[in-house]
Structures are given as C-alpha cells and as structure tokens.
Symmetry: C2
Subunit: 153 residues, 2 copies
DNA sequence: ATGAGGCTTCCCACGGTGGGAAGGTCAAGC
DNA sequence: GCTTGACCTTCCCACCGTGGGAAGCCTCAT
C-alpha cells in the first residue's frame, strides 16, 4: 500500500486538513505509539511527512485507524484485522468472506468464554467452601495441591 | 527458598526416587522448558543437580509443579501463583487471604467474560444481519468503519 | 565404541502495548 | 531576536507466558 510521500510545510499541511500524529491519536483513540507501530507492521500505509519529518494524516487515515480501533475492541487479532481491511479496501468482494471471519471469531470467543466460565465456577465454588477465617484448612489450596477428594472440574 | 544442592551420581538419584526434568515434565504436564523458566524466575526452588549438571526433582517438587499447573489452568497469573504458593508453604496462615485471592480472581474473570460476551453478541448480531452472499454491502464492515447508523455496542 | 535421545545454556520469536532517552521542531511570549 | 514548553522523531527495552532451535555435553543400550 505505497502512497506518494507528501512533503508540504507544516502550515500547508494544516491548510489541507492534514493532522499530526498527536491529533490523529486524539481523534481515533489510538495512541501515537500504536499508530507508528501499525505503520511499521504494514497495517497502516506509510504516512506522508512534512519537510521536518512529521507524519501527516488525512481523514481517510483517521477512518482507517478508527476501523482498526473498533476491530481491536471487538477482539480481532492484528492478522484478522489485516484481512478485514483488505476486504474493506476491496469493496467489490463478496461479503461472505467477512461474515466467515466474523463468525469464526465469534466461535473462538465462545470457546474462551466457556473456558473462563468454567474457571470462574470452580473458583467461586472453592471460595464458597472456604471458611476464610483463621483456620488453616482451605479447600482452595487443597484443590490446587490435588489433595482434595472431590475435584471441581 | 534455597535448598542444598545435591550432587549424586545419576544412578544414586534414581535409587533415591529423584527424577530428571523430562520425567518431571511428563509427570506434571509442565514442559521442561517451563520448569526451567519457573526456576529462573524463582517460582520453583533451585533444583539439585547430578555431577553432570542434570536437574533432579523429588516428589515434593512434582507436587509444587502440579500446583502451579492447576493454578495456571484456573487462569491465575504467575504473580498470583507466587502468593498462593507462599500461602501454601506457610500452612499456619489464615485461609482468608487465599479466599481473598480466589474471589478477586473470580471477579476479574467475570469482567473478562462480560467483555467477551459483549463482543460475541455484537459479532453474531452483525453476522446475522450480513447476507454473506455476493452483494458487497456488509453490516460488519459498516460497523467497523463507523458508517452504520445503528451501533450495536 | 557408537548412536539415539536426553540434558545443558543461550538467544530469538510471538502479540500488543507502554516507557523512556536523546534529539529535532514548532509556536507563543517577551 | 531568543527562550520555553509542547510536540515530534528514532531507537531500545519491558511486560507475560510459551515455544523453537542451535550447539554442545551426558547416559544408556547395543
């Protein structure tokens, strides 16, 4: 995704509606650190620069950053976001691939949720059976040590 | 948690019921790699060695490794496991601290579960509304791009 | 004695994010 | 004009937990 490197003066940049990385960060809730990172891994196109070397961002870049932010919030991995972005860039493509990605991710989430729910249930059960007083006996430690007779999961 | 460094011959070690790291790994489902790692970060005591430098593990070590394994399975972090182990080592201590740790961890899990459940719901909703056919319009991409009118979360 | 397979240490990778140092630049105020 | 402070740049390091792999010993069975 190469893009011509612009090298306007800073003042010109403002006039053209371009934003510095700090402004882009504020506008998209993606830290400047992460914006540079996304550029370095190719998730964002190589940013244009002022003569002084400051990165410049147009509205379309902010749009893309918000897309990434939203996808991260939904738990998509960087790899998955790469795919989503390429599908987004290529509007011609059928939506079935996108749906596929979304459902696959939803299934992965379901699995994780089940795992964590199981952990949570075990923990609250153990905690319920633990007096939590001065007595040394504690079902939680017993479970972890494998010395309790009734395993809870 | 220093422990006298034993330096028996390998044959002696077997006779004393000691295990190599590979045997310990198999017996506890903790990889040899991770056992060394846990030693390096102080979660496991410095292992005794044969003259040849091989690490040796007694039953109590396997016990501790199983404890760690179980706690990791329950999603405790290394830091939390450190605390749990110190509570375990010091049986005198009241069980209230353990209960505290368990409940705290359970609450953290609940939060994560809620977050992931929210993501999952959004994704399945978007997928449901996506035709998944050859048409380019796709609510999923629209949501990510922020162009859809009804946000789903 | 040889070879397979275990063990040792050491370094590197992942994903995703943050911290911080050292240095250049911009805009505002005097 | 010059200083000051906020911003930008690059670069390296950290976290957590785990795995991969290289190079070099060690042990045991044949």
């Amino acid at each position: 995704m190469p893009r011509p490197t612009l090298r306007p003066e800073a003042a010109d940049a403002r006039a053209q509606g371009l934003h510095t990385i700090g402004e882009a960060a504020e506008a998209t809730a993606v830290s400047a650190k992460m914006i540079r990172h996304y550029e370095s891994i190719g998730l964002m196109p190589t940013a244009g620069r002022t003569f002084a070397g400051y990165r410049l961002y147009a509205e379309s870049d902010l749009h893309r950053l918000r897309f990434i932010k939203r996808a991260r919030t939904l738990g998509f991995s960087i790899k998955e976001i790469e795919q989503l972005l390429s599908l987004w860039d290529d509007r011609q493509r059928a939506s079935s691939e996108v749906k596929q990605l979304a459902l696959q991710h939803a299934r992965a989430l379901e699995q994780k949720i089940r795992d964590m729910e199981s952990m949570r249930a075990t923990l609250t059960d153990l905690a319920r059976r633990c007096h939590g007083d001065n007595h040394p006996e504690c079902p939680i430690l017993e479970d972890l040590a494998g010395t309790s007779r009734k395993a809870t999961n």
